[in-house]
Amino acid sequence: MIALYATLFFPFAGALLLGLIGHWKSAKHVNIVFCVGAFIAAGMLALDVFSNGPILSDGKLFYIDAFNVYLILLNAFVGLTTSIFSGPYMSHERDIGRVGDKRMRLYHSMFQGFLFTMLAALSTNNLGILWVAIEAATLTTVLLVSLYRTHESIEAGWKYFIICGVGISQALFGTILVYFASAKVIPGHEDGLLWTVLQLHAANMDKGVMALAFVFLLVGYGTKVGLVPLHNWLPDAHSEGPTPMSAILSGLLLNVALYALVRFKMLADPALGNHLAGNLMMGFGLLSFSVAGILLHRQYDIKRMFSYSSIEHMGLMTFAFGIGGPLATFGALLHMIVHSLTKSAIFVTVGQASQIAGTQVISKIRGLIRSNPAVGWSLLLGTCAIAGFPPFGVFTSEFLLFTATIKSYPWLVLPLLVGLAVAFAGLFRNIQPMVFGEPPEDQRKVPVNMWPVFIHLALVLWLGLAIPTVLAQWLNQATIMIVGQGVL
C-alpha cells in the first residue's frame, strides 16, 4: 500500500518542486532522483502484487493487478532512463540557446507531471479518473511539444491539443455510456465506474449501450494510441518536441492509451457476448500497421520516421488484442514491453544523432559509425531490434503474434508479412546511409550518455533469448485476467 502511494508521490512532488527550481544547474540530478524514487517504489509494489495478489486501496480509488503492475514498473523504468538521458541532452539544448531558464523549469516540471498522470492512469480503479488522467497527460505534454516555440513546433502543439482533445472527448462520451449501462445493474451512485465492481456485473449490462460505448471509446482512446486515420497528431508531436519527450510519449503514453482500450474491451466482451469489439480492434490495428509501414518510405525527418514506426507497432498490438486468444494476448503484452524499451532507446539515440549532425533531416545525417561509434551502432542495432530481427525481443513477441494469427485467421498472416517487409525496407533505406559512409565536416562534438540505450537494448536482447520466469508468470496472470485462460 505504501509502495503504491510512494510511486505516485514521487513524480507529483517532483512536478511541484521542479516547477520552482527546474532552471538550476542541478535540476537534472533532482529530476533523476525523483525518477529513482518512483522506480524503487514501483519495484516494491510489483513484488508485493506478485507475492500477495491484487491490491485494492482503502477508498477503492486504486486497484493494482497483474495487468497494470507490469506497465507501472515499465513506466517507472523508462521514465528513469529517459531522465538520465535528458540531463546532458537538455543542457546542450540550453547551451546552444534553444531554451531559456523559464522553459527549463517548465520542461522539468512537466516531465514529472507527465509521469505522474501516466502512473495515475494505470493505477486507478475508477474508469472516470482514468479518463481524467489521460486527458491530463495531454495537458502536461502540450506545452512541451511547443517548447522550442518555432512555427513548426507551435503548429504541432496546436494540432496535438485539438486532435487529442476532440478524440479524448469521444472517450468521455463512451465512459458516460458505460456508466449509464452500469447504473442499471449496479446499485450505488458512486460505485458505477469502479473497475472492480464493473468487472463483476459486465455480463448483465445492456448490449446496445455497451456496443455504442465501445465504438466511442475506440475512437477516443484510439486517437491517443495513434490508430490510423486518427494518427495525424503523432508524427508532428514526436518530431517537434524535445527528444526525451518523444521517448516517453512513444514508450509510455501510447501504451497507456492502449491499456485503457483493453480494459474497456474486457467489459464489452462479456456484455456483448460476441466478437464485435475484437473485430473493430483488428480492423483498425491492421489498417494502422499497413498504412504506417508504407508511410515510413516517405519520411525526411528521422524522428517522424520512427514515430510512424510507433504507429505501426501500436497497430500490431491493437490487432493482437483484437484477436483475443491467450497466445495473441500474451504476445501483445510482451510486445508492449519490448516495443516500449526499444523505441525509447531509439529515440534517445536519435536525439544524440541529431545533436551531432545539428539537424533532424535524414539526408543530412551521415556516417555516424565513423564519427561516433556508440551512437552509430546503437542506432543500427536499435533499428534491427525494432524491425523484428532475431535474437531481439521484438522478434519473439511478433513470432508469438504470428503463430496466434495463423491459428485463428490464417489468411491475415499475408498482409502482416507484407507489412513487416514493407516497414523493414522503409526503415533500412533511411538508416543504412545514416550509419555507414563518410561523415560530413560540420558535425559537432556533444556530450553523449549512451548508458540508457545500452541497458534498454540489453534488456530487449535478454527478453529475446530467455524470458525470465517471473515476467512470464506475470504476463500469464495478466493474460488469464484478460481472456480467461493462460498460455503456460
Binding site: 502540450v142 502543439g157 494540432k159 472527448s169 449509464f180 449501450v209 517537434e240
Partner: protein, 225 residues
C-alpha cells in the same frame, strides 16, 4: 409523448435542452468574436438551469454542486478569461469569414438526426421521461466538433471545443444524474487547465504567425522539402 402530459419541471427541462441545441447552432453561425463568447456563456447558463431542473426532478441534490461548478466555470470564468484574452490580442471586433455557412448548417442538422438515430438504444432504457435529451447532448458534442473543423480562427476552435465539453456534461447529467463526484471534479479541473493553456497558445500562435488563423499552421506534412 404529449408535452402537456409531462410535469412542469420536465417540460422546463425539455425546453431548456431544446434551447441548448439552438445555442449550438447559434455558435456555429456566429461570426463576431465577442458575440461568439457571449453565445458560449449563454449556452453555459442554459446548461446551469437545465442541471438545476434535473436536480429538482430527480431529488439528487449532489447535482447542485455540478450546477454550481458549471455556473462558476462555464458562465463566469471561461467567458471572462476569453474576453480578456481577445481584448489583449485586439481581435474582439474581428469578423470571421465562414466557409460555406449554409452547407455547414445543413450538416449540423444532419448531425442532429444522426444523434437521434444513434441514441435510440439508450433512450429506450432511460429512467428520465425527458429521454430525447440524450440525443440532444450527443448532437451538441458533434456540432462542437463540426465547429472545430469548419472554423479557422483559433478562438472559434476553442469555443467549439468547450461547447463539446458542454455537450458531454449535459450527457452525464441527463443520462445518469451526473458522474461520481471525484470524476466530475477531475473533469472540471482538466477543463480549467485546458482553457488556460489555450490562452497561452493564443499568444504563441500570435507571436509566431502574426494572427490567429490556424490555416497558416500548415508547414508539417509528409512531402519531402
Amino acid at each position: 409523448m404529449l408535452i402537456a402530459s409531462l410535469s412542469m419541471p420536465e417540460q422546463v427541462t425539455l425546453t431548456l435542452s431544446a434551447l441548448i441545441l439552438l445555442s449550438s447552432f447559434l455558435l456555429l453561425a456566429q461570426v463576431r468574436v465577442d458575440s461568439l463568447i457571449n453565445t458560449f456563456a449563454l449556452q453555459g447558463l442554459l446548461l446551469f438551469f437545465a442541471t438545476l431542473a434535473i436536480a429538482f426532478i430527480s431529488g439528487k441534490y449532489d447535482l447542485l454542486i455540478s450546477a454550481a461548478l458549471t455556473l462558476g466555470l462555464k458562465v463566469i470564468f471561461i467567458p471572462i478569461l476569453l474576453r480578456r484574452l481577445v481584448v489583449q490580442l485586439d481581435i474582439h471586433r474581428e469578423v470571421e469569414v465562414l466557409v460555406k455557412p449554409s452547407l455547414v448548417m445543413l450538416f449540423g442538422g444532419g448531425l442532429v438526426l444522426f444523434s437521434y438515430y444513434v441514441s435510440l438504444p439508450i433512450t429506450e432504457l432511460s429512467l428520465l421521461s425527458t429521454r430525447n435529451t440524450i440525443a440532444i447532448s450527443l448532437a451538441v458534442v458533434l456540432i462542437g466538433m463540426l465547429m472545430i473543423i469548419s472554423r479557422r480562427k483559433a478562438v472559434s476552435q476553442v469555443i467549439g471545443f468547450m461547447s463539446m465539453e458542454n455537450g458531454l456534461f449535459f450527457a452525464a447529467v441527463v443520462s445518469t444524474f451526473g458522474m461520481p463526484m471525484v470524476v466530475e471534479l477531475g473533469i472540471a479541473f482538466d477543463v480549467l487547465v485546458a482553457v488556460i493553456l489555450f490562452g497561452v497558445f493564443f499568444f504563441h500562435i500570435r507571436t509566431e504567425i502574426g494572427s490567429l488563423d490556424t490555416d497558416r499552421l500548415n508547414r508539417l506534412n509528409e512531402v519531402d522539402k
